[in-house]
Symmetry: C2
């Protein structure tokens, strides 16, 4: 580190971040087939050489990109924890459900989905994406438990939370080709009540 000046380090970090953001946008809009290091470099306003200095391969770039945005979304979810935890009763479940469903309907989910599909067809990508998803999935589950104030020691509560996250993932998929928000709102409003009832139910 000794020879690298602080402003130079900052510039390098900023370049890296621009590349990651451009990569996620590119993947969400054009899919794996239309996403190359060159296309991303141009979108980020970075030379191809500079891009390759940061990411040696296409797989490196896109795995890092999805990880970066996943981290951003997890941070946003973590920040939502405090205000949601301060409220209680129906309003808390409402806030938690909105945050969780929102995770699966934004541009991150679209980008992640493109990467999953690419990973089913590209052996090189598969192991990395699987690792990333295991990590993100575990963290999303942990935060869902906290947001909902769910007590997983009680029988069935773990499966209640997991099934609800599966539903949120399915709602995200239903939003892929058309705007599904009107239907989604009705489904979510109904299941939010079911979820609250299941989590508050006295242990039998």
């Amino acid at each position: 580190m000794g020879t690298v000046s602080a402003p130079k380090q900052d510039r390098s970090r900023a370049t890296r971040q621009r590349l990651l953001e451009a990569a996620v946008e590119c993947l969400a809009e054009h899919g794996w087939a239309g996403s190359t290091v060159s296309v991303v470099a141009e979108r980020a306003g970075v030379s191809r050489g500079a891009a390759q200095h940061h990411f040696r391969t296409r797989e490196d770039l896109f795995t890092a990109a999805v990880e970066y945005v996943a981290e951003q979304r997890l941070t946003a979810l973590r920040n939502a924890l405090v205000p949601v935890q301060l409220i209680s009763g129906p309003a808390r479940t409402y806030g938690a459900v909105q945050e969780l469903v929102g995770l699966f309907t934004g541009p991150l989910f679209r980008a992640a989905l493109q990467l999953w599909i690419a990973a089913t067809n590209e052996e090189q990508l598969r192991a990395r994406v699987t690792d990333l998803e295991t990590r993100v999935g575990r963290e999303v589950h942990r935060m869902a438990v906290e947001l909902l104030g769910a007590d997983e020691r009680r029988p069935g509560v773990r499966e209640t939370v997991q099934g609800f996250l599966d539903m949120a993932r399915g709602l995200g998929l239903a939003n892929l080709l058309t705007d599904d928000s009107a239907r989604r709102e009705r489904v979510v409003a109904h299941w939010e009540g079911v979820l609250r009832e299941l989590l508050e139910r006295p242990t039998s």
Copy 2:
């Protein structure tokens, strides 16, 4: 029709069917980027010219292929209706839930998913896939209502069924990169009980 002999028609129909089956396998295994009319023709043991006689474009072939398998799965679901409707109580819900979740975890779902993702990036494919999905979605919902013996005139029942189908879709997605069957079985067993309770609940 007058000049075409019956055996020739049969052969033509058999060729078309082989092409459709090969197209679905190809799409599920290699994704859109790796799926061309030539690759499918070779897999089906049909000449490229014969394949193009049946399907003018790549979009024609793959939309027809997904429609064909969707129709097959809907037929299987229709056939499952009668035995499931003959049973009642918990065993009926169990049978219905297994049939419905199975729809989203087989090779058809994988092929359909590849087509959806391709459709987000290919304008030509988008309108057709959207139409197909609207039609299939409506039919799956209608059959889910029948399989589960759900009374949609009661408030909330429509949203109960829709949310459950979203969960099944999310479970299918979770099975894309890794074998998720152990976790899925636990989640499904739990939610099957919830679903039964929601559908049997007396109107308040």
